[in-house]
Symmetry: C2
DNA sequence: AGATTTATTTTGACTATTCAAAATAGGTCG
DNA sequence: CGACCTATTTTGAATAGTCAAAATAAATCT
């Protein structure tokens, strides 16, 4: 019964609130949804009327328990669909985000369950993004990034937190997929650069901005 | 760029015009789309403005070449999705129609092609409905039905032309799936009944209305 | 404190889609 | 032919979502 517009609003509020507690500023939401701020104000008020969010005028929005439930379900659909598109249909991981953006609103919970089973109940999508469980639990572990981790330690890529096709294409081409092993050889804050050595392939230099999008954990 | 409303209008015009040539009366379209006639008049005029249909006031609508192209693409998506849901996700053929009704508007041509390949380029969906080719060709062969076919000849079910879950459930339960072998043992026009003997299972009696929804061809 | 910048909200308008109800064009039938 | 029936069209109004631009509140900066 939630329209896809409503689902998108709720999903982005969830994504912007790092778990669902903090107030999301209207401007940030407008930016994420690619609409003007006035539109967000209007929609958020109606979302508040329907009990999906709490609106603190001039401060921001926060999901209600019900809003969070809906948002997690949409996010689960999004990420399971991405997994399906990559693992089963063999699509390019750089392009599946746009596809999933539509499909997340079109698949039923029934299809969702069957996809989940077909895929073997995955816990992360092709980008390493955690897939909320059927019950709405989502892994909220905090990871270091290539911009913040310790230098000269063995690391494993766990996640790429960026959905633009260009960046993902670039990451893929340079062996930065979840599971890849590497270490940071040098970090120059002044120059804003991070040097990375992968176990295989040539050394790589990233900007701090790019490095900040690659989440890592200590190699097992 | 066509909205899903537009896609639904075009698809139903195609379905109601037996191939695309005849004029579809506004009332029939309104009924198929479950909207009031006035709404159809309004929408059809805008579809005519965008070049998707030709509107003969007071007579009906007909698809333009472009409208037909769009409609066939949507129909192809619908039927390939149904095939996927049944063959891969093992869903009940009685329920996939409603799912496909949404998904047909959400999958891209890219995903469509990959689904087609995954399924081995099927030419009919689980109900025996022909799947339009990528180039927009669709099998328009005319078949007899259990209400019109010859009596006491070996037959094979080719298609069930009804998408309601109840009817499909009933057909499935009684062994009336595409491919099933049977013959009509008796037809009583006065009583409006058709008696059917399947190769396996007990004899079956259908109303003429129900029998008319089962398309058959002479057993090979 | 007063002025200025910035984020948010308001207002007015527009598109797409729909319905209810009234108006109308075409037949049809006596 | 004229009354009548039926399908279609018109008219007026509603809902969801959006934008542009003006108004306003809050925060920041002399
Ligand atoms: Mn979306
Ligand atoms: Mn992802
Ligand atoms: Mn549809
Ligand atoms: Mn079908």
């Amino acid at each position: 019964m939630a329209t896809s517009t409503v689902e998108n609003y709720l999903k982005h509020i969830l994504l912007l609130s790092e778990g669902g507690e903090e107030l999301v500023p209207m401007g940030a939401l407008a930016e994420a949804l690619a609409v003007v701020p006035g539109t967000v104000t209007t929609m958020v008020k109606s979302l508040a009327d329907s009990g999906h969010v709490e609106h603190r005028p001039r401060q921001g929005v926060r999901l209600s328990a019900e809003g969070r439930r809906v948002a997690l379900n949409v996010l689960r659909k999004h990420r399971l669909v991405e997994t399906f598109l990559v693992n089963v249909l063999k699509m390019d991981w750089a392009t599946v985000h746009a596809e999933a953006e539509q499909l997340e609103h079109a698949i039923s919970d029934e299809v969702l369950d069957r996809l989940d089973a077909l895929l073997g109940h995955p816990t992360t999508d092709p980008h390493g993004d955690p897939i909320p469980s059927r019950q709405g639990k989502i892994d909220s572990q905090v990871y270091a990034t290539l911009a913040t981790c310790v230098v000269e330690k063995g690391l494993r890529v766990v996640r790429i937190t960026e959905q633009s096709a260009e960046f993902l294409q670039f990451a893929d081409l340079n062996g930065l997929q979840p599971g890849a092993s590497l270490r940071v050889t040098e970090r120059n804050l002044a120059a804003g650069l991070v040097s990375v050595k992968k176990t295989t392939g040539r050394p790589l230099i990233l900007s701090l901005a790019a490095a900040g999008k690659i989440l890592v954990q200590p190699a097992r």
